[in-house]
């Protein structure tokens, strides 16, 4: 199980690196085309914005752990073991409920965008925006899994900031 997860994670990382690379390269193409060749191309901007949107939510869906996220964990770090478990459980529960509640409407919004296309590459916008839906589903699944683990008495993550010995 662990090996499959690690393999999937590595592939997800490949995708993220690929997206960031495309973004970087299209920027360079944009600069070269505008300032060196004097023949600006217009598709680069849209490609940059699309890959940026995808990198953010792809990472957030599959790769960002709690320690990668910007967090306010002063109270969490100070709390004792039992308290920490309770906090982690409650937080996960709240996130799952909120995301589940807004999922149908958000999904509706995204699929409604199928009638529109992007400006230069003419990609259907529901495809472009679908990554946000994927992010919501993945977040619900990941935090749902955490609730399940914590409720069964599984280990909680150590606080991120610990004083070195």
């Amino acid at each position: 199980m662990h090996r499959i997860l690690a393999w999937l994670r590595a592939r997800a990382d490949n995708v993220a690196v690929g997206l960031l690379t495309v973004m970087f390269i299209s920027f360079i193409v944009q600069i070269l085309s505008r300032y060196v060749l004097n023949a600006p191309v217009d598709w680069t901007l849209e490609l940059c914005l699309t890959t940026w949107l995808w990198v953010v939510f792809w990472e957030a869906a599959f790769l960002l752990d709690d320690r990668d996220h910007i967090r306010f964990d002063l109270l969490y770090v100070m709390a004792g073991h039992r308290m920490r478990r309770a906090l982690a459980l409650l937080a996960a529960l709240a996130i799952v409920v909120a995301f589940l509640v807004s999922l149908p409407a958000t999904w509706g919004y995204i699929s409604f965008e199928k009638i529109r296309h992007s400006d230069t590459l003419h990609i259907r916008l529901d495809y472009v925006f679908s990554i946000y839906g994927i992010f919501m589903l993945a977040t619900i699944a990941r935090y749902g899994l955490r609730i399940w683990r914590l409720a069964r008495g599984g280990k909680i993550e150590a606080p991120v900031v610990e004083e070195a010995p």
Partner: protein, 434 residues
């Protein structure tokens, strides 16, 4: 304030307080708001998607992250360190001065204090503490304090974020940071010179003069980076976002073909960690976008501006109050959260009071950067603790005088707006204060 907004606020504090990621807390709180106020639940997602997909300016953030990581991997910082050591290492307390000067140069290439601290922290702190020359806490503290200059001297990720929420020009914001950044360097060096005398820090054996040209030549391509970047942006050649791409491209050239310090594997790792950092800031930007939408829909800034007007504050008193609030928040919150979520509340009041937004932005960003080294929550302190193993308590004992000096610099900037605005005005900026 409506009930739904109050509940939204409570939800944000409770969720974030429980240790949930700030971004997810903001999205969750926004959903609470939409449910209670009976609005369309898809609004949260819509605002986030449209906001991130529709802003060209934000793209500078991932590009500056890539540029910074490439330089860290490409031995750029070590070369700069050797160069600065040859120039200022010969004075009493020399390595302390080297630390500040190398951070000033590095800040002309990178836009993040955390990246700067990570880049040179380990090497310079090891140099300083070798044979017990400097106390570990002092070495760590001055490194942390000097790293805060990074996002003040352009380029700067926090200033890109500020420009996003205030519509102030990034170009002028960047220019406005130059003199304040140098001022911060100056006060830190003054403090170091004093400490070197009273605590009798050692004098290093000076690097022989005939070695200086060689050390300079090794660092020269790296030293060109700020020049290229600033010329690109202020020569009117590129936009700041394209400047960021140029910086990343040049950093790739330096690390790869020029310094031969980065192979394919290394490049992959740089991009992988850049993607991670990009997303962790990007998703907070997303959360802030929906939160700012709610704050605007509730007309909070107008209420706040009216309230402040009722207090008959003059601009200076307003700035002092705001800076005290920001310093306090800086002890508890991350800088990007403060800039994206808290600062928008003050912008309408600034407009009403006639406070220039470039000036306000630079002062606020300096303030937030001080927040990076104020305990108990100071990201740069954590980074240095993480890479050197020097206990936080040891660093914190020595950090106070540095925080004090940086606050002195901040007060000077508040009292004398010319420190910020003089340089932008030389480049045609029309804004003034009062």
């Amino acid at each position: 304030m409506s009930v739904s907004f109050a509940l939204c606020f409570v939800a944000l504090f409770v969720l974030a307080g429980m240790g949930a990621p700030i971004a997810l807390s903001m999205i969750g709180a926004a959903i609470v708001y939409l449910v209670v106020s009976g609005q369309d639940l898809s609004l949260a997602g819509e605002q986030i998607i449209q906001g991130l997909y529709g802003s060209f300016v934000i793209l500078a953030v991932p590009l500056f992250i890539i540029a910074g990581n490439l330089m860290n991997a490409g031995t750029v910082s070590e070369r700069l360190l050797a160069f600065c050591n040859a120039i200022v290492g010969r004075f009493r307390g020399g390595l302390g001065h080297v630390n500040v000067v190398v951070n000033i140069i590095l800040s002309g290439m990178s836009g993040s204090a955390v990246a700067d601290a990570a880049a040179i922290g380990k090497v310079i702190i090891e140099m300083m503490t070798k044979d017990g020359r400097y106390p570990a806490g002092y070495a760590a503290a001055i490194t942390a304090a000097a790293a805060t200059i990074g996002p003040i001297i352009p380029p700067s990720i926090p200033m890109v974020l500020y420009s996003l929420i205030s519509d102030a020009s990034i170009g002028y914001l960047f220019l406005g940071g130059v003199v304040p950044g140098l001022l911060m360097g100056l006060v830190l060096m003054l403090l170091n010179a004093r400490a070197a005398r009273t605590r009798n820090f050692p004098v290093e054996a000076p690097v022989p003069l005939r070695q200086v040209p060689r050390v300079t030549a090794r660092a020269f391509p790296a030293l060109l980076m700020p020049v290229i970047l600033l010329y690109g942006i202020y020569g009117g050649v590129t936009t700041p976002t394209e400047g960021a791409a140029l910086a990343a491209g040049y950093a790739l050239l330096l690390a790869g073909p020029i310094y031969r310090a980065l192979g394919w594997r290394g490049l992959y790792n740089v991009l992988s960690s850049s993607a991670r950092q990009t997303a962790s800031i990007g998703i907070v930007i997303g959360g802030a976008l929906i939160f700012n939408y709610i704050v605007a829909a509730e007309n909070i800034p107008a209420h706040m501006a009216a309230y402040l007007e009722g207090l008959h504050l003059n601009p200076l008193a307003f700035l002092i109050v705001v800076n005290l609030i920001l310093l306090f928040l800086g002890c508890l919150l991350d800088a990007s959260t403060i800039i994206l979520v808290v600062l928008p509340l003050f912008i309408p009041s600034c407009r009403a009071l006639g406070i220039d937004l470039v000036y306000f932005g630079v002062v606020a960003v300096v303030n937030c950067m001080i927040g990076l080294i104020t305990p108990p929550y100071g990201v740069v302190l954590f980074v240095i603790n993480g890479i050197t193993g020097i206990p936080l308590s040891t660093i914190i004992r020595e950090i106070w005088p540095f925080i004090g000096m940086l606050i002195v610099a901040l007060i000077l900037m508040i009292l004398f707006p010319e420190i910020v605005l003089w340089l932008p005005q030389q480049f045609g900026y029309k804004g003034t204060v009062g």
